[in-house]
């Protein structure tokens, strides 16, 4: 054993004490280690790079539906309540419809998300398509959802 101070008791007072631990490594382990480490580093760096994942069509439409619903509710609220031409009855109807819309939106909770989106879809959600939600899209969505056309034309 190597000692850097001969006055120090560095040796085990044990006859036959092994100088090694008895442990060994698989043959070729150290030869493979460098490649393995470099691969791990490369994989790690690939994982940490920012990736833009394209949104699958299916989830894209779901996301757009949700945001369109929100947009529709907002646009509807602004247009209807700021329109002096709308009478009380129209206002009442609009209020009811908007209330329904907000109720629907409020129901988008964890269960709704879990039921309607796969993990892969959630992982790929990106908001890069938010520009697609236009007033026209909101208008069409409201039509599709059965809002009375006259009301929409009157207030749009």
């Amino acid at each position: 054993m190597n000692t850097d101070n001969n006055n120090e008791k560095d040796f085990l007072n044990w006859e036959g004490a092994p100088k090694i631990s008895g442990m060994k490594v698989p043959k070729g382990y150290f030869d493979r280690l460098e490649t393995s480490v470099l691969q791990s580093i490369s994989a790690e760096e690939t994982l940490t790079e920012t990736k833009v994942i394209p949104i699958p069509k299916k989830s894209n439409s779901k996301i757009i539906s949700i945001f369109t619903a929100i947009a529709a509710a907002l646009i509807g609220a602004v247009l209807i309540f700021n329109n002096p031409a709308t009478n009380d009855i129209t206002n009442e109807l609009a209020e009811e419809l908007l209330l329904d819309e907000w109720t629907n939106l409020a129901n988008i909770d964890d269960y709704f998300i879990a039921e309607n989106f796969t993990e892969a879809e959630l992982a790929s959600i990106s908001f890069e398509n938010k520009d697609e939600i236009t007033a026209q899209a909101a208008f069409e969505y409201m039509l599709d959802e059965g809002y009375p056309e006259y009301l929409l034309y009157e207030t749009y």
């Binding site: 008791k9 060994k24 460098e34």
Partner: protein, 196 residues
């Protein structure tokens, strides 16, 4: 299987010291890739045995060694060169190993006494070919407190100098000598009891 500690005949500190200068030259030029390649090539064996002596299991050692090198690579650009590269690398390996040991202790705390578990692991380990004396020595080392184990392993198995261990563990040489002395005493007592 290759003979354990074969690297000790060509190693230890003088070789690492020489590599330190080479590595620092590359770091000064921001050539981190070459610096890392030298670290990987030259430190893999000493770091492996440093970790293996602490963890005992080859598979665990392999995982922690990989983690150590990944950390070294990530932190290399921030290495301030106030210490030797190998001391810094050893510190990373030590911290990774101690963190792993803590996790392992928590994992086995409910089911099995940790020392018993470690003994089972090292003797059932297919990468162990020691005889009864080796088993006794390893079992004795396992009874030491963690820091004493580490100091004993570095001094006895890795044949490091006190000032090198001091730099790595950030402990004074005097305290290291005392710690090693206690470790040796405890191991001798363990062996004596076992052989009686």
């Amino acid at each position: 299987m290759i003979k354990p500690f074969a690297f000790l005949s060509i190693l230890p500190s003088m070789k690492l010291d020489a590599q330190d200068e080479r590595i620092k030259e590359h770091l000064a030029k921001s050539d981190f890739k070459t610096a890392f390649e030298i670290i990987l090539s030259e430190f893999k064996q000493p770091l492996y045995w440093h970790i293996r002596n602490m963890l005992l299991s080859h598979d665990d050692t392999d995982d922690i060694l990989q983690e150590t090198f990944i950390k070294i690579w990530k932190n290399l650009p921030r290495f301030e060169q106030r210490s030797k590269v190998y001391s810094w690398a050893y510190r990373i390996a030590t911290n990774e190993s101690l963190g792993f040991i803590d996790k392992r202790k928590r994992k086995h705390a409910e089911s099995l006494d940790d020392n018993q578990h470690l003994e089972n692991t090292m003797f059932a380990e297919e990468y162990f070919d020691g005889d009864e004396a080796h088993k006794t020595l390893l079992a004795a080392v396992q009874t030491l407190p963690q820091k004493q184990q580490m100091i004993f392993n570095m001094k006895y198995f890795q044949e490091m100098k006190y000032d090198e261990i001091s730099e790595i563990t950030e402990t004074s040489v005097g305290a290291l000598k005392a710690s090693y002395h206690h470790a040796v005493r405890k191991i001798e007592d363990f062996v004596k009891i076992k052989s009686d």
